[in-house]
């Protein structure tokens, strides 16, 4: 934790800022990318959102109070950015966010940056039938393999509630895949 405090100081100090931010980028770009990609689904959108996320992280770093870990704070920004992005995109295209997600999943088949077959598509289709919170929990637990404690910090809920959410999500997905 003291290491993290030092690191944050380095990020804030104009002299060490550049090097520290480079380190932050290289440490977090991959996990944050997968997190965002799992929410927005296509690469170009994920790229946009990820860049915005890092820009925001940089801008708001001076307001970061260290109440939570840097890791969960950045995940939270990424989650918000991705969800806001999806809502805006849905609004612009005049679709509900569900309809938009369905369309995006259809497009995945022809996406050159998607390497999945029927089961992946089916799983994604099952996921979008879930409420937003359960979607997030499922993706973070199943695809990103984050710990419940980490997810709890990011989403600001209790571990117990998360376990219940995940359990519900798995049940609904299994039901969907079985019957479709």
């Amino acid at each position: 934790m003291t290491d993290e405090k030092e690191f944050i100081q380095e990020l804030l100090n104009p002299k060490t800022q550049n090097a520290a931010f480079q380190k932050l980028l290289s440490d977090y770009q991959k996990p944050l990318y997968s997190h965002i990609r799992n929410i927005v689904l296509n690469h170009d959108d994920a790229d946009d959102v990820l860049q915005n996320t890092f820009v925001k992280v940089f801008q708001y770093l001076k307001n970061f109070k260290g109440e939570s870990k840097l890791f969960s704070w950045m995940y939270r920004i990424a989650t918000n950015e991705a969800l806001t992005f999806l809502n805006q995109k849905a609004k612009l295209s005049g679709l509900t966010s569900e309809a938009l997600q369905t369309k995006t999943i259809e497009n995945l088949k022809s996406d050159i940056y998607f390497d999945g077959d029927e089961i992946q598509i089916k799983l994604q289709k099952a996921i979008i039938t879930l409420p937003e919170k359960q979607q997030l929990v499922f993706k973070m637990k199943y695809f990103e393999e984050l710990k419940y404690e980490e997810i709890a910090e990011i989403l600001g809920t209790s571990v117990g509630a998360l376990k219940a959410s995940y359990h519900h999500a798995v049940k609904k997905i299994e039901l969907y895949v079985t019957s479709n």
């Binding site: 480079q22 997968s34 799992n38 690469h43 790229d47 860049q51 820009v55 940089f58 940056y113 089961i119």
Partner: protein, 137 residues
């Protein structure tokens, strides 16, 4: 159809890939964006300014409401002199009513005033022919 169980299946990967070397130049892109934002941030702040100015104007107007109200109220209020004249000539307030409304502070003030007038008391008494009447009262 056999019931699908996630835990019985081999782990399903998300299947998402990235373009080759995507992460190699991501940091450069991000840093470039940050620098751009720092330099030509004007449109964003401009918009922000308009909003903050509008907000400030609303606040100022909101703060003015009580002032405007008071202003109207005071202009309609009677000034002190008119009130005094009215009370002494028109109303049926008497000494006792006034005395009842005095508090300790008022009485102390009155005492001071009386003390100053003490010196002239003699003159008054000397010049007043009805002195006996005053004493008996």
């Amino acid at each position: 159809m056999k019931a699908f169980k996630l835990e019985n299946e081999p782990k399903i990967k998300s299947g998402f890939k990235t373009p080759e070397h995507y992460f190699d130049d991501l940091s450069a892109k991000v840093l470039q964006q940050i620098n751009e934002k720092e330099v030509k941030v004007i449109p964003f702040y401009k918009r922000k300014n308009v909003i903050s100015i509008a907000a400030a104007a609303v606040v100022v107007f909101a703060l003015m409401i009580p002032i405007v109200n008071n202003y109207n109220a005071t202009s309609k209020e009677l000034d002190e002199a008119t009130l005094e004249t009215y009370l002494s000539y028109q109303s049926n307030l008497n000494q006792y009513d006034l005395i009842q409304n005095l508090d300790t502070k008022d009485i102390q003030k009155l005492n001071k005033n009386v003390a100053i007038e003490d010196e002239t008391l003699e003159d008054i008494l000397a010049s007043n022919p009805n002195i006996e009447h005053l004493i008996s009262e």
